[in-house]
Symmetry: C2
Subunit: 238 residues, 2 copies
Amino acid sequence: MPPAKIIDNPIRAADNLILVFERQIMDGTLQDGEPLPTEREIVQTYGVSRTVVREAVLALSNKGLVEARPRFRPVVRKPGYDAAIDAVGSVVARLLTVPGGVRNLFDIRIMMEAALARGAALHANRDHIAALKTALEANEAAIDDSQLFFETDIAFHSVLYDVPNNPVLPAIHKGYTGWLSNHWMQMPRQPDRNRKNARAHRAIFEAILLRDPDAAEAALRTHLDAAWSQVRETFNDL
Amino acid sequence: MPPAKIIDNPIRAADNLILVFERQIMDGTLQDGEPLPTEREIVQTYGVSRTVVREAVLALSNKGLVEARPRFRPVVRKPGYDAAIDAVGSVVARLLTVPGGVRNLFDIRIMMEAALARGAALHANRDHIAALKTALEANEAAIDDSQLFFETDIAFHSVLYDVPNNPVLPAIHKGYTGWLSNHWMQMPRQPDRNRKNARAHRAIFEAILLRDPDAAEAALRTHLDAAWSQVRETFNDL
DNA sequence: CGTTATTTTTTGTCATACCAAAAGGCAGAA
DNA sequence: TTCTGCCTTTTGGTATGACAAAAAATAACG
C-alpha cells in the first residue's frame, strides 16, 4: 500500500478564488446587484492568471452566485432560495429527459402538494383563505382565456405553498411551474378542460374551508391526477 | 417577470462544446464511467482552443455530468437522480449558511417525511414492512454504539423513502442526510437519546403496521420535532 | 441638454509555454 | 512469470501575450 494519502490536497488556484468571492458575497463586501470587478482587476488584485479568474467566475456562475450574460460583467446575486432553485434548473431539465423523468417529478409534486393541501386545511389563517378565494375567483373568471387561465391556475396553487410560511416552498413552486411549463403550455386548453380544473380548485378550496385535511388532500390528488391524464393524452411518449 | 431569455444569441464556443458532450453522454457515445478524451484531443477534434475546452469541461462538471477530481481525467457520469442531487449539493450547502436556513430545510424534510409516513401506512407492502422491521431491530440493537446508531437511524428512515417506488425520493434522502449530517454527526449521542429515538422509530413502525396514517404522521412529526430540539440544544445559533 | 460618433475597456477566444502530477512502459528482482 | 521500483511520456493546471468584437466611456455635435 502506498503511503496513505489521508487527504486529497491538490488545491487549485481557482478554488481559492471561488472561496474568496463566496466569502465576499456573504459578508456584503460585494453587494447584491453589483458587478464583479473586471477580470484584469482581479488578476492584479490576487496575482493569478486570467485563466484562473475566468474559471472561478464561471464556477460562481454555475453555482448561481453571480449572473453572467455572455458579453457582460457578471453581476452578484445574493444567495437566496430563488437563486438556488434557478441554479438547479439545468440539472432538473436534464432529469426531465430521462425515461419516466417527467412522471417521477410530477409524482413528487403531487406528494408535496397533497401535504400542502392538508396543511392548509389545518393551519390556513384568514389571510390565506382570502387569498385562496381571490385566486379561485380570478381563475373561474378566466375559463375562456387560455393564457390567463394558466396564470391564475398557477396563482391558486401558489397560495398553498405560502401557507407554511417557509421561504423554500414558494421557490420550489416557482421551480415546478418553470420546469413543467414546457409540457404544460403547449397543451391544448379547451374551455371545458378549464372548467373542470376550476371546479377541482373549488373543491380543494371548500375542503380547506371546512378544515377537512383528508378531503383537501383527496381533492388535490384528484385534481393533479386528472391534470396528469391530460398531459398524458397530449404526449404519448412519457 | 423575466421568464424568457428568448434571444441571448451571442453563442459562446464553450456552449456548443457543452451541447456536443451532453448529447454524446445521452446517446451513449460516451459511456458511464468512461473518461473524457484528453483536453488536447478535444482541441484537435473540434478545432477549438484549450481555454474553451476547459471551460466546457468545468461546466459539465458543475452540471454533474462528469466527475472531475483535480488532477485526473474527468469521468462521465450518467445523468441520474443521484448525480443530480450531488450536483445541487454546493447550492444547498450555501443555503444552510443563511440565517434560518437549516431550520427551513429541516422543516421541508419534516413535511416530506410526514407525507411519506402517511403513504407508508397506506401503501406499504409486505416487503416494506419487513424492511422496516429489520431496520428497526438493527437500530434498537445499536443504542450503545454512537456511529452504528447513526447509520441504522438513517437506514430506518430511508425505507420510508423507498415505499412510493419513485427513484427521486431515495436520492432526496441521500441529499438530506449528506447535507444535514454535518450538524448531525457532531452532536453528542448519549445512549438515552438513542433510546428515545429508537422508541420513536418503533412508534412510527407500529402506526404503519396498524395502517393508521394519522398516527404514523403524528409519530413521525413528534420524532423529528424532538430531533430538532436536540439539534437546537447543541447549536445555539440557528 | 440630448444624441451621435469616437475612443478606450473588457470579454471571448486563440496560441504557446512551463511545471508538476499522473499514466504508462521497462528493466530488474523475487 | 509476476511483482516492484524507476524512468519517460502524457496530461492537467497555470501563466503570458495577442487580437477581434462587443460594451462602456468619452468626446463631438446639433
